[in-house]
Structure formats: C-alpha cells, structure tokens
C-alpha cells in the first residue's frame, strides 16, 4: 500500500513524530518560531485522551513537562531561545532526577528577544552547557521536515531508554518550511518505552541502576511511592551530602550516554570518500552545504559533507576519521563559531578549521560556501 504523504510544516511534523512516539502530555508557553508545535498539539492531544496545558511561563512549562513524565506520560515541550534560557533551571532538575522528556528548541536569533522571526543556530553550547553542573546531553539536529518527524520519535526513544531529557535542536527555517512527509505506519519506526519496576512496591529503589546504568522508573500514583529531589540522592531517592557518592552517580549518568555513542550518534555523510575538503554543517545550514557540495563537484572539486543528526554527544568518532586525511575543513554555521570549536578539538589542527559564521538572521547562502571552497588556499 502506498504510504500516506502529507505536506507539512516542520513544526507540524514534530507533532506527528511526538504522537507516533506515544506522547500524551504537552506543557508549554507559546513563543515564535515554535508556536505551531503547541497549536497543533492543543488540537490533537485531547482527541486521543492526552492533555495539553499552557502554563503561566516557560519555567512552569518545563516543570509541568517533568511532572507529566513522572506521572508516566511521555511529555513534550517546545520553545525558542528566550524560553530555553528560562527553562534551564528545571531542565537541570530533569537531568539530576533522570526524568525522560523531549524539549524542542526552534532556534532564532539571540541573545534575549533578539530577532524573533528569523533563524539562528546559536544555542548549540547552551544545549550542552546551559544548565549548571556536569550532566550528559543528547541533542538532535534535523535538516528536513521528514527528519523533524523521525528525529522526534528518536528523541523520545532515547529519552525513554536512557531516562533523561533529550533536546531536539532545530531552527526557524526547518521549523517553518514545508515539504512532503511520509507518515509512518505503526511498526515502521521503533517506539521505546521506559523500564518500569516489576518488584514489590515496598522493595522499590528509584535510583538503583541496573547493569545498563538505568534504573526502572515507576509512575507516580501507581502504588510505587518514592521521593524525588534536586539534591544528590541515595538509591532510595532521599538526599545525601556524600561527595563521593555524588561523583560516582554523575559519572554513571555521563556513562549512560558515552558508552552508547554508537547507538546515539547518527551522521549523514555526503561524498566524503574521496573528499579533499570536508564541510561540517548541521540543521538548515547543512542544506546550504549540500547545495554547495553539488555546485563544487560539478566543477570537479573534491568536497564532501559530514552532517550530524546528533550534535550532542558530539560526533567525535565519525569526524576523527578525517583528521590528517582531508586538506581543509570548513564549518559554516549561523553563530559565531560554536561547533567550529568542537571540530577543532577533534581535528587537532589536522587540518586547521575554517569557519563561515553568520548571525544576520539570513540562511547561509550556498554561494558563500562555494566561494569559501574555491577561494581558500
């Protein structure tokens, strides 16, 4: 049977992905350019027995998203730069308490209110380090409307599997553009649900990890009573001021992600095999880069594109293959050089990284990238 094809906006596709993954709770506060996510889910969630709630502000929206998940519902929130800044305290709470949920950040210009209706990619480091303290981070960077759907499903799966918040780091261009999207049938994409306890409720320890580093999570209200706190805690959930235990626990959390790099990190490589020049680009800028690669290849220039669908954890292993192999590395991004620093760290000067950094609220033109490819040394 032919697949169901819909012509969708990027933000609408996020909603299709969330519903496919089994999301039944959304809490948010409207902000351009993410508002359509809230708009669509406000209409759709009540029809499937889910709940949509507009909170009084972004802080409360993040708190409610965590609360929905603690009650056992797959939960989503969507925002943009200023809202993401406000969510940071509660997002940190989500990391420490290991609450699965998905946060969509449709990036616009910043800081502060910035350029509300234009695109940006300046929240890469905020996604990684925006909340205080050491913690693992998973952030996904779709480039197409289809990927907005598929990567939202993957974000929920990773959140559920590793019991942690996951960020879908997209931008105004991908969020607002429209493309034809194949709507997956049940079974087409994997859907993962969190581990829940099977023990007697009186024996339940909410933070006693199993061999995979992840502890089963009970739904509040299901008879498993437990304590949650933003303080470092013991396996029973109650606070502890033991620094050694806190360190061991934070390292365990980081290892949940580090040890599963191969499963979490996905990249798309375009014409990299014989490439002498490598471009590293994500999100909407990767689309400009693909166009530039095609234009350059038509002129016989050996250039390829490494496009991460997972920006955090950073695709070190995938990128390191090209260290010492390519003659040039170019990083175009709509910020003043955030991922370029990471690329530099991985390439270790082999070769030096050349950036194309732009924060004028316009997408990076493929011709700008082509000129860099041709004009370099």
């Amino acid at each position: 049977m032919a697949k169901k094809v819909k012509f969708l906006q990027g933000n609408e596709a996020v909603c299709e992905g969330a519903l496919y993954a089994g999301c039944t709770f959304y809490a948010g506060y409207p902000i351009t350019p993410s508002t359509e996510v809230a708009e669509v889910l406000a209409a759709r969630l009540p029809k499937i027995g889910g709940r949509f709630i507009q909170m009084e502000d972004e802080l409360a929206a993040m708190a409610a998203t965590l609360g929905g998940s603690i009650a056992g519902k797959k939960s989503l929130t969507a925002t943009s730069g200023p809202g993401m800044s406000l969510k940071m305290e509660n997002l940190g709470y989500g990391y420490l308490t290991e609450v699965p949920c998905v946060i969509v950040n449709v990036m616009r210009g910043g800081p502060s209110t910035g350029l509300p209706t234009g695109p940006g990619q300046s929240d890469v480091m905020q996604a990684r380090w925006g909340t205080h303290g050491d913690h693992p981070c998973i952030a996904l960077t779709p480039s197409t409307v289809q990927e907005q759907l598929n990567e939202t499903v993957r974000a929920f799966n990773l959140a559920e599997k590793y019991r942690m918040p996951v960020i879908l780091l997209t931008d105004e261009i991908i969020g607002h553009m429209r493309e034809a999207v194949e709507i997956p049938e049940p079974g087409d994409l994997p859907v993962i649900d969190r581990k829940r306890p099977t023990c007697d409720p009186k024996d339940y320890l909410p933070y006693k990890p199993e061999a995979d580093g992840v502890a089963p999570m009970a739904d509040f209200g299901s008879g498993y009573r437990y304590h949650i706190t933003g303080l470092n805690h013991l396996p029973d959930g109650f606070p502890s001021n033991d620094g050694k235990l806190a360190q061991a626990d934070e390292i365990r959390q980081q290892k949940k992600v580090d040890d599963n790099y191969d499963e979490i990190v996905v990249v798309d490589e375009m014409m990299c095999d014989d490439a002498e020049i490598l471009i590293f680009a994500f999100g909407s800028t990767a689309r400009s880069a693909k166009e530039a690669v095609q234009m350059a290849r038509a002129e016989g220039i050996k250039v390829g594109l490494l496009r991460p669908l997972t920006i955090w954890p950073f695709p070190d292993k995938h990128l390191a293959k090209y260290a010492g192999k390519v003659k040039r590395v170019i990083v175009p991004e709509m910020n003043l050089g955030q991922t370029a620093l990471e690329v530099e760290r991985v390439m270790k000067g082999q070769p030096a990284v050349e950036g194309i950094f732009q924060i004028d609220s316009e997408p990076i033109n493929p011709v700008t990238i082509l000129n860099k490819i041709k004009g370099g040394k």
Partner: protein, 182 residues
C-alpha cells in the same frame, strides 16, 4: 532538469503564504514532484511586506530558499519594489494593477492584471485574491495540471467555500488568457 523558483509577495494577510502552500502541496503530494514552501515575514500579524517562496523540481531540493526567482507575483507596490531586485533576466513578473502603480523596470515579461478587483467585483470576495492569483499564475507558467490546482485549492479551503474558490481559479485563468492575448 526542470526547476522552478517562485516568489509570491504582498502584504501580510493577503494570503500569499497560503497560495504558496497550496501550489507546493499540489506539486508534491498530488503530482509526486519535489517541492518546498518557505516564507519570511516581520513580527506584525497584518501588513508589512510578506513573501512566500516555492521551489518545484524533478530532483532533490537542498537549499530551501529562492536565491533568484524565475517568477515573481507582487500584490503591493512595496513588495514589487522590494522583491523584484533579484528577479532573473527574462523572468515573469505578475502585478496587481490596483495596488502596484509603477511597475519595476527590468528585462522581464510583465503581466499587469486586475487580480484584487476581479476577486472583489467578479468573484465577489476580495479575500480570494490569492486563489485568483494561483489560477492566473498557473495558467501562465503551467507548474501543475489545472485539475491538480483545483484539487489542491479545495483540500485547503473551508467547507462551504468550494464554489467560491472554483470561481476564483477560473477567474484567474481568464485573466491570464486575456493578458497573454495582449
């Protein structure tokens, strides 16, 4: 390789973005081509120059924005002046004769047509000027089959407005035929 770069512009609220969505959805979902619709607008809900861009292609489209359009529709003077700057040489410029008093100068095929007046007076609702535009645009450029355009329009408009919108498409086609005959 056939690739059409189309820019639909006017003032916020004139329905140019909806028109772009309808055209791109028709080309992609109904005819199986590759199509992308994107837009840009200011912080205001109404007014201000607004544009929708559509790319229709037989091949994968990477860069989603239109660098230099082949076709520009402008329903206001501001949009005509602002967005015609990078219209390709030999491109097509479709203007509304009520709102655009001075056609921008360039090496283009210019169609000055009573789009808004036709919508208001002949079809009976100024609101359908965007659908009149689609009828005219597609008659001139042939992006999709006429029946595709009708199906795409009808799948996006509110129930009860089907006849109104069909009339708007036909009125647009007539405008284009008359303009081409000139």
């Amino acid at each position: 390789m056939a690739r059409h770069l189309i820019r639909l512009s006017g003032s916020g609220g004139q329905g140019m973005i909806t028109a772009g969505i309808i055209l791109a959805a028709g080309a992609s979902v109904l005819e199986g081509k590759k199509a992308i619709q994107s837009q840009s607008y200011g912080p205001e809900a109404r007014g201000g120059a607004s544009k929708a861009e559509v790319i229709i292609s037989d091949e994968e489209i990477y860069y989603p924005k239109v660098m230099a359009p082949d076709v520009l529709v402008a329903l206001t003077q501001e949009a005509a002046d602002k967005y015609s700057k990078d219209l390709k040489q030999g491109g097509i410029l479709i203007l509304d004769d009520l709102m655009v008093k001075t056609a921008p100068k360039g090496d283009w095929k210019v169609y000055m047509m009573p789009i808004i007046r036709t919508a208001a007076e002949k079809v009976g609702k100024a609101m359908v000027a965007n659908v009149v535009t689609l009828g005219a645009l597609n008659e001139i450029c042939g992006f999709v089959k006429p029946e595709t355009l009708e199906q795409a329009v009808l799948s996006r408009v509110p129930k009860g407005t089907e006849e109104l919108n069909k009339n708007a498409i036909s009125a647009g086609i007539e405008l284009a035929k008359a303009a081409k005959a000139k």
